[in-house]
């Protein structure tokens, strides 16, 4: 039950109920007192009435007796002739109206005188007469008198003379007088005063109609019966069915009257009798009700006043319990409850902030606990303050093991080192060690990537250090795996490249001979005019060339697909290019009886593109056109267009040949699929041409499109941006090559004609070829078949350029190169490495300045170093060698000489060291794990800052087959021995010569 209800009920119970109870009880007692009072008063009244009646009767009796004794009464004897008695009686009866009649009787009973003349002469029958004649006053109880026609009480007083009764005075006292006496004051009162005869007959009563008729005792009134018995008192009884209160008193008189035995009854309807009480009760009830009506609302109000604030507080408390810490109570009153409200508010505020703190704390705790990375918080002194679960899990510790211990427990450092580290972190405010390690409880280590930062307090002082370390075991493993995979992939790639290189080399070598010799013979035959031979020789040559083309295509394609195709962009005059191309293609065109039409648009001018490739593309398209058109028309056109703000060169090759179906077109650019199988047989070709052409165009930022109608001809359109740029299809490592190849002038630029070219090659064919080629341009060619010979000649002649074959028996090209560079006299001569392998870069990337062999000759080494030292003073060196002994030895030797030495275990580290400190010179071992010397140099050369650092190669003299292969695979030539065209070679050489 609510407080309010209790309060209300309590007040009602404690105040109202006792009130009511008291009221009730008092009412009861008042009622009984009242009853008693009233009863007593009734009794008294009855007694009073009775007394009055008695007195009246007694008065009447006395009067009568007195009259009887009057002198003239004796004249009854003389019949009252003079009427003295009559006069008297008449007069007296007027006065004493309470007597109905007065008579004087003779002893015979004859009436001689009466108050009423009619009576005179009559004989009285009254019984009382007899008694009176005996000389005693006689009383007759109330009865009906015929004579008087009313109820009377008869008095008979003897008239005496000298002791003897001579007559009787008979007085009839009106019984109605009783009513007159008793009913005084009772009118309108509803109190009934009754005079009862001995037998209960009502002699006097409020209702005249009832008098002399009603018998109260007969009605069973207890009061009556008791009263006539002589009792006095009051009683509650029922009279005529109504509850009444009756007071009764017996008639008390002396003498003759005593015999009457009358009673007086004072009775009142209880309803009326207790009306006052009832009224009072009503009043009391009304007051009580009024009180209640006032008290209850007041109580409720009071209750509300009290409980209102309490309820407010209680509700607010509930809200707080549900988590709403905003709940506040407005104090309504200035009393204890108001104080409670204030206290509540304070408490809630406190609670809210505590909760917030707790929530924060929980929040933070849950963050820490849910972190996957380890979190260690050190205090300002480096003692572990907090560790999260990740830490304890990872390192197999319990929280208690770590908290309070110094931080180096985790890192495995010495206290001094740890202190230093802490100081560093504090100074730097943050610290990151991607390759850190934590020590587990059991002494093991876990590789982690550590980030530490300083935690400051409000004042800005260092409060602690927060270290987050990520377990990188997996990462490392993944990295390892990646590296291995990469290695494997690279290895596979290298293998593949090598394979291709080998294969192409193997394939080219005989091809060289076929083509070369067939050409030689052809020329001779032509000179000799042997026509029959020429066509055969031509066939041989063309076959050889075709085969070569195939191999080149395959290699090209594989290079393109490996993403290793590089562009040599140069400015080229389109007009000239077209001319060239036309000249070249003319024979082929004419072969099928076709006519070639050339149109060069206006303002075509120059473009920047890879000339070789472009030429290849045009050649490819034109040859296709020629092949598939018979006695038709081939048109080659060029124009410059601006498309979307970009300038493009649009080459179109249009033929009136057999055309292509839609299906053909769709398969057109797929490798090895000529239009259909029959085409290959009929028209020859490798089927790679278009694919390669397209790739070339795409690499240059353009594309080839085709339109054709089967049976009516085909148009191939080549669009290339006027400023062709390498697209992302290519690895951007052409910088080196570009540098070396230098800005190319137009092919037909003038060239200095002086110069000797030393050709070092064991392959006579090559010798011949190169010789022929070069000599035609006015160079002197000197041959050397072996490395030694080459060296000797180089030293002797000091040629302008040396072409050097890599793969030679005895001393291979590499060694020769080394020697050349080693010898001060020949070191400056540019060397063109000739090889059968494609990738140009590596070859020149290897622009090794020098080389030393192992075991290193100290003197020699120092000499080299001195040679390459720039400026005065000792320099800094980088030694890259996987052999720690070599490194150590070199370091000792070189440091003695005043050099600063940095070490690297392999090429990768070497690059790191380069990044850290640019050395003046690099001592490089070739054969190293992870990254060998070649790669290193290649990487080195990519960075502009490092390109000029001289590299001294330190390698073992004896190269195993494996090493050789590797070397061969890694060393490239600018030009392929067999695939280059004469022009290209010339160009290359010219370029080198002009550059030097």
């Amino acid at each position: 039950m609510s407080l309010r209800t209790r309060l209300v009920l309590a007040v009602l119970g404690l105040a109202l109920l006792p009130l009511l109870l008291a009221g009730f009880l008092s009412d009861r007692s008042v009622e009984s007192a009242f009853r008693k009072d009233l009863g007593t008063s009734f009794t008294r009244r009855a007694a009073d009435s009775s007394d009055k009646v008695a007195r009246s009767l007694q008065d009447a009796q006395h009067a009568l007796e007195t009259w009887a004794s009057l002198g003239f009464m004796q004249e009854v004897l003389t019949d009252d002739l003079d009427g003295k008695i009559s006069s008297f009686l008449i007069g007296i009866s007027r006065k004493y109206t309470s007597f109905a009649s007065l008579q004087v009787l003779k002893t015979t009973g004859e009436c001689v005188s009466a108050s009423d003349p009619r009576f005179i002469g009559e004989k009285a029958q009254d019984r009382e007469l007899a008694r009176a004649l005996e000389g005693q006053l006689s009383l007759g109880d109330a009865h009906y008198s015929e004579q008087d026609s009313r109820w009377v009480v008869t008095f008979a007083a003897p008239i005496q003379l000298e002791g003897s009764v001579v007559g009787v005075l008979l007085g009839k006292w009106k019984a109605d007088e009783l009513s007159a006496i008793t009913q005084v004051g009772s009118q309108g009162e509803s109190v009934g005063v009754y005079v009862l005869r001995k037998d209960g007959l009502v002699l006097a009563g409020p209702d005249p109609a009832e008098r002399y008729k009603r018998n109260v005792e007969a009605e069973g009134a207890e009061s009556a019966s008791r009263a006539v018995k002589g009792q006095q008192g009051f009683v509650e009884e029922r009279l005529r069915g109504r509850p009444v209160l009756s007071g009764f008193s017996p008639f008390q008189a002396e003498g003759a009257l005593a015999s009457l035995g009358w009673a007086v009854l004072v009775t009142q309807d209880e309803a009326v009798a207790f009306a006052p009480i009832r009224k009072m009760r009503g009043w009391m009830g009304g007051i009580a009700l009024a009180l209640a009506l006032v008290i209850v609302p007041l109580t409720v109000l009071l209750g509300r006043q009290i409980t209102g604030p309490v309820i407010d507080i209680s509700r607010a408390a509930q809200r707080v319990a549900r988590g709403d810490f905003e709940a506040r109570v407005t104090p309504r009153t200035n009393d204890e409850i108001g104080a409670l409200a204030k206290a509540f508010n304070d408490m809630t505020t406190d609670l809210a902030s505590q909760r917030a703190e707790l929530v924060d704390k929980h929040y933070v705790d849950s963050i820490l606990a849910s972190m996957l990375d380890t979190l260690v918080v050190l205090d300002a002194k480096g003692m572990i303050k907090t560790v999260n679960r990740a830490t304890t899990d990872l390192l197999f510790y319990e929280e208690g093991d770590l908290v309070g211990r110094p931080g180096h427990v985790l890192t495995g450092q010495t206290p001094e080192d740890a202190e230093r580290l802490v100081a560093t972190i504090r100074e730097k405010r943050s610290y990151s060690a991607p390759d850190f390690s934590y020590h587990t409880k059991w002494g093991g280590t876990v590789p982690v990537s550590l980030s530490a930062s300083v935690m400051r307090d409000d004042k800005g002082d260092v409060r602690g250090i927060v270290c987050i370390a990520k377990d990188i075991t997996d990462l490392k493993r993944q990295q390892e795996e990646l590296r291995e995979a990469k290695e494997a992939a690279e290895q596979a790639n290298r293998t593949k490249s090598q394979f291709l290189a080998n294969m192409s080399h193997e394939l080219r070598t005989p091809l060289n001979a076929i083509i070369g010799y067939s050409e030689m013979l052809y020329e001779e035959a032509q000179e000799n005019g042997e026509v029959a031979l020429t066509s055969d020789l031509r066939k041989i040559q063309s076959a050889g060339k075709h085969l070569l083309a195939l191999i080149n295509d395959i290699l090209d394609l594989s290079k393109i697909e490996a993403g290793k195709m590089e562009l040599y962009l140069e400015v080229v005059d389109i007009g000239a290019l077209i001319e060239d191309t036309v000249v070249t293609i003319e024979p082929l065109v004419q072969k099928n009886g076709n006519v070639l039409d050339v149109s060069v648009g206006e303002g075509v001018g120059r473009m920047k593109a890879d000339v070789t490739r472009l030429r290849q593309v045009l050649f490819n398209l034109l040859s296709n056109a020629s092949k598939f058109t018979n006695k038709g028309h081939i048109g080659l056109s060029v124009k410059r267009e601006t498309v979307e703000g970009r300038e493009e060169m649009v080459f179109a090759v249009k033929d009136t040949g057999i055309g292509l179906t839609k299906e053909h077109i769709s398969r057109l650019f797929q490798a090895f699929a000529q239009a259909d199988a029959t085409t290959t047989r009929k028209f020859g070709g490798t089927g790679l041409g278009l694919v390669i052409s397209r790739r070339f165009c795409q690499i240059m930022g353009g594309d080839i499109t085709v339109e054709s109608e089967y049976g009516h001809g085909t148009t191939f359109t080549v669009r290339i941006p006027a400023e062709a740029a390498e697209t992302k299809m290519m690895a951007a490592s052409g910088a080196m090559a570009r540098k070396l190849s230098g800005p190319r002038t137009a092919p037909t630029a003038a060239v200095t004609k002086t110069g000797t070219v030393l050709v070092i090659d064991d392959d006579a064919t090559v010798q011949d070829l190169v010789a022929r080629i070069v000599s035609k341009d006015g160079f002197d060619v000197v041959m050397a078949s072996t490395g030694d010979e080459g060296l000797r000649l180089a030293k002797e002649l000091k040629p302008s350029v040396i072409t050097l074959d890599v793969m030679m028996p005895g001393m291979d090209g590499w060694s020769v190169l080394g020697r050349l560079k080693a010898d001060a006299e020949t070191a400056h001569i540019p060397v063109v490495m000739l090889t059968l392998v494609d990738d140009k870069n590596l070859g020149f990337a290897l622009g090794a300045a020098d080389y030393v062999t192992k075991p290193v000759d100290k003197t020699r080494l120092l000499a080299i170093l001195r040679k390459y030292r720039t400026g005065g003073g000792p320099g800094s060196l980088l030694v890259v060698d996987d052999d720690p002994q070599v490194r150590g030895m070199m370091r000792r030797q070189l440091e003695k000489e005043g050099y600063t030495v940095a070490e690297a275990v392999n090429g990768r580290e070497g690059l790191e060291r380069l990044a850290e400190n640019r050395p003046d010179l690099v001592l490089l071992d070739l054969m190293m794990p992870e990254m060998d010397g070649f790669e290193f140099v290649s990487e080195m050369r990519k960075t502009a800052a490092w390109r000029s650092i001289p590299v001294v190669v330190v390698t073992a003299m004896e190269l195993g087959v494996e090493e050789r292969r590797r070397l061969q695979g890694s060393v490239e030539a600018v030009l392929q021995k067999s695939a280059f065209s004469r022009e290209e070679l010339e160009q290359e050489i010219r370029a080198l010569l002009t550059a030097h």
Partner: protein, 159 residues
């Protein structure tokens, strides 16, 4: 008072005797009034009226106060015979009926002797009574029918 009046009884016994003797002697009853009373003579008729209390007021309007003598006196006898012409009992009845009719309030006043009547009338101005003519003193005698007692033709002579 219960003491019997001996004298009254005696007198009562004696009166009849006396009256008898008086009749034999010859008594004149004088009608007397108070000396102040202007009346000097009345007719016998008037006298009857007065005595019968039919006439109840003097000329001047004052009430006639009639005084009779008690039954048994000679004087009463004469009056009874001569005026009332009734016996005592009849006269009682007469008075009763008169009272019954409301003509008179009560029996007229009676006195026991001429002497007391004389004394009474002499003192009471409006009174009228009858006495033995020989015993008149201090009162006025009224002529009846013009005659005074003792005169011949006087109506109230006992003879």
């Amino acid at each position: 008072m219960k003491i019997p009046n001996r004298s009254a009884v005696l007198f009562a016994l004696l009166v009849p005797l006396a009256s008898a003797s008086n009749a034999a002697i010859g008594l004149d009853v004088a009608i007397i009034v108070n000396t102040a009373n202007p009346t000097t003579s009345i007719s016998s008729r008037e006298l009857e009226k007065i005595l019968k209390q039919d006439k109840q007021n003097w000329e001047d309007g004052k009430k006639i106060l009639l005084v009779l003598q008690e039954t048994g006196t000679a004087e009463k006898e004469v009056v009874l015979n001569k005026v009332y012409k009734m016996q005592e009992a009849e006269l009682k009845k007469f008075w009763l009926s008169k009272m019954f009719r409301g003509e008179i309030a009560s029996f007229p006043k009676t006195l026991s002797s001429s002497g007391s009547v004389s004394q009474f009338v002499g003192k009471v101005p409006n009174a009228i009574g009858f006495v033995d003519a020989s015993l008149v003193s201090g009162v006025k005698v009224v002529k009846v029918d013009g005659k005074l007692p003792g005169e011949a033709g006087y109506p109230l002579a006992s003879k």
